[in-house]
Amino acid sequence: MSSASNHEIHVDNSLSGLILKHTEVPVQKCYQCGKCSAGCPVVSEMDYPPSLILRMLQTGLPEMEEKVLRSYSIWLCLSCEQCISRCPMEIDIPKMMDYLRQVSYKKKMVNPRAKNIVRFHKAFLDSIRTTGRLSEFGLTVDYKLRSLKMMQDLTLVPSMISRGKLGFIPEMIKGTKEMAKIFAKTTGLKSEEEK
C-alpha cells in the first residue's frame, strides 16, 4: 500500500517501485524540501515541478502515476543536473526523469506539447545510426520534415554556411556496421543487413 506513510524503501509494482528497481533512485526518500524545484531552470514552463512529480509518485496511486507519465515536465527536463547537486537526500532526479521518459514513450503516453522534443531526439538518433556521427545538416532537415517547422531557422542557413559551420556531407565512420549492431541490440531496430 502507500509506502509514503512509513518512508520504507522497497520494490513493489508501483511506478516508484519500478524506478527503484531499474535505476536505484529512491523516490520515497524525498521529504519535499523543494530545493529541486527552486533551482530548476525550466520550472516556470513545467506543468508539475520536480518536487511535485516526486510527491505524486510517492502516493503510488495509478491516476497520479498516469499524470506523471503524461506530463510535459518529464520531457522539458534538460538533465542539467542542478537538482541532484542540491538535493539533501541525493535523489538522482535526472536519472529518474530518463526512466520516466522511456516508459512514457514506450507506453505511447508522450504529452502532446512534447511531440517535437521527441521528434528531435528521434531525428538525432537516426542520423547517428546510419553514419556513426551526427550530421547537423541532416538532423536539421530531418527534424524539419518531422515537425513540419519548415521555416524555423531558415535565416540561419546562409550565415552558417558563410561561417563554415554547416557541413552538407555527413562524416561516415568505418565502423558503421558496428553502429548498426549497437542500435539493433539496444533499440530492437533491425540493422540494414538483417533486413
Binding site: 531552470p41 525550466v42 514552463e45 520531457w75 522539458l76 534538460l78 538533465s79 542539467c80 543536473e81 542542478q82 541532484i84 547537486s85 541525493e90 538522482d92 535526472p94 530518463d98 526512466y99 521518459r101 522511456q102 514513450y105 517535437n116 522534443i117 521528434r119 528531435f120 531526439h121 528521434k122 538525432f124 538518433l125 547517428i128 556513426g132 556521427r133 551526427l134 550530421s135 547537423e136 545538416f137 536539421t140 527534424y143 515537425s147 524555423q152 531557422d153 540561419l156 550565415s159 552558417m160 561561417r163 563554415g164 559551420k165 554547416l166 557541413g167 562524416e171 565512420i173 568505418k174 565502423g175 558496428e178 553502429m179 549492431k181 549497437i182 542500435f183 541490440k185 539496444t186 533499440t187
Partner: protein, 302 residues
C-alpha cells in the same frame, strides 16, 4: 607530449572554431593531439532520454576504441561529450553486470581505465605551466566565465572544481592577465538540447545569462562547451527578443582567449566564424618591454 582527443560531432561542424582553437593552442604548447580512431557520436541528450543501454553503449565504444589505441589520457573539449563519457565510465565501473552487458553489445573489451580530461583540466596540466613564457600580449579584459551544466555536474561523478562556484576558467583568465567577474549565472543551464525543439525556452534561459554578464560589465562571455556557445552566440536573435534589446557582448571559447594571449591570429582561432562579432584583439594593448617582466607574474591569482 602526446594526448588523445575525442572531438565529438559539434567540433567538426558548428563548433569548428572551438576545434581550431584547441588545436592551435595545443600546437603552440607542444601538445600532440591524437584523435580516438574511428570515433562515433556519444549519443548526447537524445540517447539518454530515449534509451539507457544505447546511451551507455555509444560512449563505451569510444572509450574502448581509445583503450585499443593505447590512448590512456584523452581530452574532451565538448562539455556534453565529457559528461556522457565520464558518466558511462563511472556507471560501468560500478556495475560489473552492466559492464559485461555493454561489452557484449559493443562487441569490444571495455576496461574503463581511461583518464578523461575536460579542456580546462588539459589547460591546467599542460598549458598553464608554460603560459608565462609564451604570453606575448596580456588578455587584459573583464570577462564572465560561464561553465554551464555538464562541465561541473553531476558533481558526484565528475568531481571537478566547485559545482556552485567553479574557478577553473577564472584562474586561467587571471593567468592571462584578465579579470574574471563574479556573477550569478556561472552554472545555470543555457537550454542545451532544446535549441531546435523549444527555441523560445533557450532564448529565455540564455537571455538571463547574457543579460547578467552584460549588466555586470563583462566585455565577453568565456565558455568551454559548443552547446553553450551556439546557444549564447548563434541564438542571439532569440536572446535579444527575450531581453527586448540588442545585446552585442561576444562569446568566446577559453581556448580562443589563450590563443589571443599567445599571439595566434584570429583566423587560426576561428574568431571570424562567430555570429556576434568578436573584436577582442583591438582592445588588447601590447605589453611594453619595460613592463613585460611584471606582466609575467599574475597579479591577482586567488
Amino acid at each position: 607530449m602526446k594526448l588523445g582527443i575525442y572531438p565529438g560531432c559539434s567540433l567538426t561542424g558548428s563548433a569548428r572554431d572551438y576545434n581550431e582553437s584547441v588545436f592551435a593552442i595545443a600546437k603552440a604548447c607542444d601538445i600532440q593531439l591524437e584523435q580516438v580512431p574511428d570515433w562515433n557520436c556519444c549519443g548526447a541528450t537524445a540517447a539518454h532520454n530515449m534509451n539507457k543501454e544505447l546511451s551507455l553503449s555509444l560512449p563505451a565504444r569510444i572509450l574502448a576504441q581509445a583503450e585499443k589505441a593505447g590512448l590512456t589520457d584523452i581530452v574532451i573539449p565538448c562539455a556534453a561529450c565529457y559528461s556522457r563519457l565520464m558518466v558511462t565510465q563511472h556507471e560501468l565501473n560500478n556495475d560489473p553486470v552492466l559492464k559485461n552487458r555493454i561489452s557484449e553489445i559493443i562487441e569490444m573489451d571495455f576496461k574503463g581505465t581511461t583518464n578523461i580530461l575536460n579542456v580546462v583540466q588539459m589547460i591546467d596540466l599542460y598549458v598553464s605551466p608554460v603560459l608565462k613564457e609564451k604570453i606575448v600580449k596580456n588578455f587584459s579584459h573583464k570577462v564572465a566565465c560561464y561553465y554551464g551544466c555538464l562541465m561541473v555536474r553531476p558533481y558526484k561523478v565528475l568531481q571537478y572544481d566547485q559545482h556552485e562556484d567553479p574557478q577553473g576558467m577564472d584562474n586561467v583568465i587571471r593567468l592571462l592577465g584578465g579579470t574574471a567577474i563574479d556573477w550569478g549565472y556561472k552554472v545555470e543551464c543555457c537550454g542545451a538540447g532544446l535549441t531546435m525543439s523549444k527555441t523560445e525556452i533557450v532564448g529565455m534561459l540564455s537571455g538571463k545569462i547574457v543579460k547578467d554578464a552584460a549588466r555586470r560589465g563583462a566585455q565577453a562571455i568565456v565558455v568551454a562547451c559548443p552547446m553553450c556557445h551556439s546557444n549564447l552566440d548563434m541564438r542571439r536573435p532569440a536572446i535579444n527578443e527575450y531581453i527586448g534589446e540588442k545585446m552585442d557582448i561576444p562569446v568566446i571559447y577559453i581556448t580562443q582567449a589563450i590563443g589571443l594571449a599567445l599571439g595566434i591570429d584570429e583566423k587560426t582561432l576561428g574568431l571570424q566564424r562567430h555570429f556576434v562579432p568578436v573584436k577582442m584583439a583591438e582592445y588588447i594593448p601590447p605589453v611594453p618591454e619595460s613592463k613585460k617582466q611584471k606582466a609575467k607574474e599574475p597579479t591577482n591569482t586567488i
